[in-house]
Symmetry: C2
């Protein structure tokens, strides 16, 4: 008789696992049922800001594979608007509520894939029924926000709360739509995913776009009128708002896992082993924004919600569920983003992370150009490297610059992944031609500077 | 008493060595004299096509450091238009001819830096005094070509002989200047620095620009009239030409080295050790386009003339001359170029190189996009990987694509440098955001395909 795999969560992690398992085991060998509480499967949450801005025209473009494709091509029984409310490990059953039709279903499983994603951080003041307050975690959230922005009369003043990736990207999206945008950030600077000496470059660029950045400001509440938000109230005064976007980060969605007794780690995510098996719970797997993963540099468990990790982890889980062998070796914290034409990349540890992990280190910032200095369009590229002292091993890197800056972080990410020292890196054979780099690539310029900064 | 360093050749390799040596030893400890037969020091030969096209306006922009800077800031006695004609190792002397003023000078040395660069390959038919025939090896060559193009009436028909990097870049430069351009190539395709299945994409793009590509054609002579070239004669007929550009590659400039008894390797370049010392000849160093270097993948000595290697090798020699310790660990054949908006990158071995080196291998070509598929401006990126069989170790990679394709080769170059397998590579933590990559980066898509192609 066929085994039965239940997938909880129909986005990247869950569906990558389901489709990989299907590649290796056909329907006579493995039944697959996937529950998704929303209305979409396998969509790009990272694309939402670009759809809000209007750069991406059609919401459906963000959906990589729709439920019909999963049903038809993968024989996966996808059930949208079904929220799993109970995992019963003893009876090997899940209970799901039908959010559209009402009622409950019970489904038996032999194998369980936990891929519930993450929930936005919601302080008490943000728990409101007032219209005009939005997260941008799911495509349903994006849908609701976009409807609100297209009302007549259209909202004019936006306040974005939180200056992480989503906050920064949403601030850009809203200013591109023509709104007045204020970004409120509790820390000294937005974009704290890079060190302050690099984040300042990003903040300057955002101000250049006309975004009003207020830092060191704590939100204390919202003012509402007639069921709509009208102000964001802070310890530095109130900011009028026709629309409020919450970008305060996310936490692993583990309520269901906790209730079922699945183990959580110190980062708050579900604990998994290298094969994406939930630690100590046979036949249960997990992947994506709900799990914690190993940071290969610090050696610590971390929670880094990102579609690319969810896809890779899901694939690994699916290969293993399918009877193959694959492992997910952890992450190094690589990320890229942009604010209009300014590009930002990072990998590894920031200074504060390196200090927290107990490393002695040096850090250098090197300015160079993205092309040969004489080539038209050459612009400044700023590369920061953090290297262990005295070994010289690369611990982290950050890049801020213009054209072709962000993805150069990959060069540094692969160097870091392989444990290279900055001294070794000065010899790297990187592509050179005037349209693409000076004879000394910015990465090499930075490596040389780091070598000079290390004690001899 | 101060030691005396004589540098033969005032371009990247020689002057990088001289300036690094100066950083570590002041003028009371080390005198430095540099002979350069041309009129320029430390210029970007790779930039010449972009100056010919008019994209770079001022020739002097291509000069990284002029002689006056070397004299003033580095206390280096630079002698332009001086061609060294003899190295006398027994007497520790060089003889140089003053090309401008006439006469000869003799200079004693304690340390010698050999950095004579490369000479263009010149078949018998190209040894002509006819006006209108140009190499583009030196800035002086570029100067002469540009003067010729600016004559009145301006040349209208150009024939470029040879379809390597310089040939392709010069063909583009000349068509951008409005000339009719024919590119004549002996092989089946231009851009043979990538495999034929990738080179075809480049040839298509060149034809799209209006470049008339003739392949499988051997040049047999030139027709001249009144001291000017008028035709390029081939085994497939004659091509009218007001200007002929030779892009037939270069060979290490070793005449002087040979005469002095410096050892040459199988690639034709001067043999050096890891510290850039000429093998078996005390106190003599060499760097740049005149030396051979280790290919780290094949383990074979190779001659790869490229400014970025010359700079690195010169730096290594200079650190060692200066009393420090540095090594040059070899190259992996990374290179990038473009034909208008089409970008090309390569690293490691091509299929023919891998076969010649004795590897068993698989190769795959994966098509993906440079951005998330839904993001505006997403275009095809084609990635080819060559992996050892059965180990899966990456041996080579090639990329052809549009925006932000070429420099992605660096990601693969660093993976290859570190001996990664394609299986390991599928887990790499590369930057992901919709403007920069799909959730599966093109590099990872190709790695997955290569894993699937390997025997299990």
């Amino acid at each position: 008789m066929a085994q039965r795999l239940i997938v909880i969560g129909g986005d990247a992690g869950g569906m990558a696992a389901a489709s990989q398992a299907r590649r290796r085991r056909d329907r006579t060998d493995l039944e697959i049922v996937a529950f998704e509480r929303g209305r979409f499967t396998s969509y790009s949450a990272c694309g939402i800001p670009y759809w809000i801005s209007g750069l991406v025209e059609d919401r459906d473009d963000l959906v990589a594979r729709d439920p019909e494709t999963f049903r038809r091509d993968f024989a996966i029984d996808v059930r949208l608007r079904h929220e799993v409310t109970v995992i019963d490990l003893d009876r090997r059953e899940v209970v799901a509520r039908d959010l559209a039709g009402g009622g409950e279903v019970r489904e038996r499983f032999d194998l369980l894939m936990y891929a519930t994603g993450a929930n936005p951080v919601q302080p008490d003041w943000a728990r409101t029924d007032a219209a005009g307050v939005f997260g941008v975690q799911t495509l349903d959230d994006g849908d609701a926000l976009r409807d609100w922005l297209e009302r007549d009369p259209a909202p004019r003043r936006a306040v974005v709360v939180g200056g992480g990736y989503i906050g920064v990207e949403m601030a850009e999206a809203l200013i591109l739509r023509g709104l007045d945008v204020t970004l409120v950030e509790q820390a000294e600077q937005p974009m704290s995913t890079v060190d302050p000496d690099m984040a300042v470059l990003v903040a300057d660029a955002m101000r250049g776009l006309g975004i009003d950045i207020r830092t060191g400001v704590t939100v204390t509440g919202l003012t509402e009128e007639d069921g709509r938000v009208t102000e964001v109230v802070t310890d530095a005064g109130a900011f009028p708002a026709d629309v409020v976007v919450l970008g305060l980060g996310v936490r692993p969605n583990t309520a269901l896992a906790e209730a079922a007794g699945l183990p959580l780690g110190p980062s708050g995510g579900v604990r998994v082993d290298r094969r994406m098996r939930v630690v100590g719970v046979p036949d249960v797997w997990a992947a994506g924004d709900c799990v914690e993963t190993l940071h290969r540099v610090s050696g610590q468990p971390v929670h880094i919600p990102l579609g690319t990790h969810a896809n890779k982890q899901g694939r690994v889980a699916g290969i293993n569920i399918g009877g193959g062998y694959a492992t997910f070796p952890g992450v190094i914290g690589t990320a890229v983003t942009k604010v209009c034409d300014l590009e930002v990349g990072r990998t590894g540890l920031r200074e504060r992370d390196a200090a927290a992990a107990g490393f002695a280190f040096v850090s250098v910032i090197a300015e160079s150009t993205n092309r040969a200095g004489y080539y038209p369009g050459a612009r400044t590229m700023t590369v920061k490297l953090i290297a262990e002292q005295p070994s010289g091993r690369l611990l982290g890197a950050q890049i801020v610059g213009w054209s072709e800056a962000a993805k150069r972080i990959d060069t540094l990410a692969v160097a870091l992944w392989n444990g290279m020292t900055v001294d070794d890196m000065t010899s790297l054979d990187l592509g050179y031609a005037p349209p693409y780099a000076p004879a000394w690539d910015p990465v090499l310029v930075a490596a040389r500077k780091a070598v000079d900064a290390l004690p001899r």
